[in-house]
Amino acid sequence: MNLHPLLEPGWVNAILPELILSIGAMVLLFVRARGLASPIALIALIATAWSENLVLPGTYFGNTYQISGLTRIFDITFILAAILATLFASDYLSREGIEGGEFYALLMWGTAGMMMMGKGLDLLIVILGLEILSICIFVLLGYNRKLSVGNEASLKYFLMGAFATGFILYGTALLYGQTGSTNMTQLAAYSSNLRGDAGPLTAIAFVLIMAGFGFKLSLVPFHPWAPDVYQGGPTPVAAWLSTAPKAATLLVLARIFTAMTPTLQANSWMNMMAALAILSMIVGNAVAIAQRDLKRMLAYSGIAHVGYMMVALMTLRDEGVASVAVYTMVYALMNIGAFGVVSMLAKNQNDPQTLDDIAGLGFRRPFYGLALTVCMFSLSGLPPTAGFISKFYVFKTAVESGHTTIALIGILTSIVSVYYYLRVVYYVYMKESPEGSAVPMDGGAFATAALAISVIGILIIGIFPTPLFQAAGAGARQLFMLR
């Protein structure tokens, strides 16, 4: 690994968003006034979003850190997720009486971790970013300390996460042994030199790394933590956890796949990813039907969605990466929107938030009902929502790459998914809430604003997707040119 002895000029610009986030988070630690925490966090996040404009594309820190159009899109997804989570959390935390700066600080560090993880060209950076993220998640999941479910979620995620990290590390070590580097450019060079003939140790390394990242993505069979953790964790955290980290992980996978494309193609290792994708789509959608707890249901649906995204990624084409970029952003909007509505349920958070709790919501609280409906339809991939356009992109990519059968499986499973998404709409509009026992919805201005952002975002991307497509496409092509 050929590292520069000195930092290049312009490094401040390169890590400006991360800097703003980290510093903002540190500031938050010292904020005593509880009401101020979320506004400060929002300001910091918006500043981060703004600073994305100042970042110059290029590689930094001795070819270990790459900023491109693609990372910018993902950064925006992370920031969006963080903003939405912050907005929902603000109301959630004050309702639970646990408002505090640490929450937002961890959220922002986690976001910074994801950004660095996504930009890392060296597995070292990736793993460090991943670890920052993981630490933040461990704490955030247990943030509501009154909750035994939250504690349990935190424990489960911690044990599984550390276990998975062990695998990633060991895989990386083996890979390092094979390639003599952990840098992706080196990996790419190794891969294209090697052509088909990668030994079993490389395969093992690949499997171990994929298993570790598969854990983060909650791909079947590495998924089982997801429902428990989503259910137990504070709902805004679950919302955030279900979207942004997956996006970051997918970006890392996109990089790894791009780097290793010749090897992957020659050894048809992508069959593994195909199997994971298919399993995820089937298991996620099938089990989601059996769930009555909304968060668990969304967890399984998330498993299925990752399956769809995997379908796009396994095509090993720039279109696939672009569609994943689009999908993750859309998924962040719609999934956090859906979780957001759940987060407003003012009930004992130790109890499951079931479908019954949202019965009659559409007429009780029309906007929330409508927003949830829009999110559900977007999740099920029906036009004119963004969910449709992104799913379309994914399947289009799959078909164009000759993966018609997998696309067919994806379509069939998404038919299944329609059933449980529709069931939510059914509860929202067609089920009368039992008289007097309706769970109150406690949505403040922040949460409502967040929902509005989700809904408007879903519709705008659904109806005018071109700018996002173009940006994603350009970014993805860059990634592939750099290979």
Binding site: L3, H4, P5, L6, L7, W11, I15, S22, M26, L29, Y60, F61, G62, T64, Y65, E102, A105, L106, W109, G110, A112, G113, M116, L124, I125, L128, G129, E131, I132, I135, C136, F138, V139, G142, Y143, R145, K146, S148, N151, S154, G177, G199, P200, L201, I204
Partner: protein, 167 residues
């Protein structure tokens, strides 16, 4: 020749104490065994010509981290809690799968990771490492600072007692 003997001796120690970790029912014993195993690994590091990391292994790992473990075990009085038996199927599958995994891994490593010994001296002393760390690896190093800060904040937050009181 002596190096081979040292290797095998400490390798055996590392493995045996590792087995003690996972087999002994008392967590205190397990923790101490882990410390022993880490010491053995530190010896390995020396054999691998990275004495600096051997020192770090002893100081940070065996010294700090494992003490933290022991501290927590003591704090929670876990040494008196006998660990109940688990479901046999989990146990069985756990042993079988990890054994097969280990055998497979060893097999592949033994078969495919055949390498000639490198020539020359591997310089990985504290000075070299330090220079690289603060020049080329300055950015990851800063990332670690965030990592640790987050961990500190998180650990403080989580272990505070307020949560349990209001359960």
């Amino acid at each position: 020749m002596i190096t081979f003997a040292i290797f095998f001796f400490f390798a055996a120690i590392a493995v045996i104490f590792a087995l003690v970790v996972i087999l002994h029912r008392n967590p205190v014993v397990g923790a101490l065994a882990l410390v022993a195993s880490f010491f053995a690994l530190a010896v390995m590091y020396v054999l691998l010509e990275v004495p600096f990391l051997a020192a770090l292994q002893v100081i940070v790992y065996a010294g700090a981290i494992m003490v933290l473990f022991l501290f927590v075990i003591m704090l929670l009085n876990l040494q008196h809690q006998p660990e109940p038996h688990t479901r046999p199927i989990q146990q069985f599958l756990g042993y079988v799968s990890s054994a097969s995994f280990g055998i497979g891994l060893v097999y592949y490593v033994a078969k495919y990771a055949v390498m000639e010994n490198p020539n020359g001296l591997f310089v990985a002393d504290a000075r070299t490492i330090g220079i690289r760390l603060f020049e080329a690896y300055a950015f990851p190093f800063e990332m670690v600072s965030i990592l640790l800060l987050a961990a500190i904040v998180g650990a403080l937050f989580l272990s505070a007692r307020t949560g349990a009181a209001a359960r």
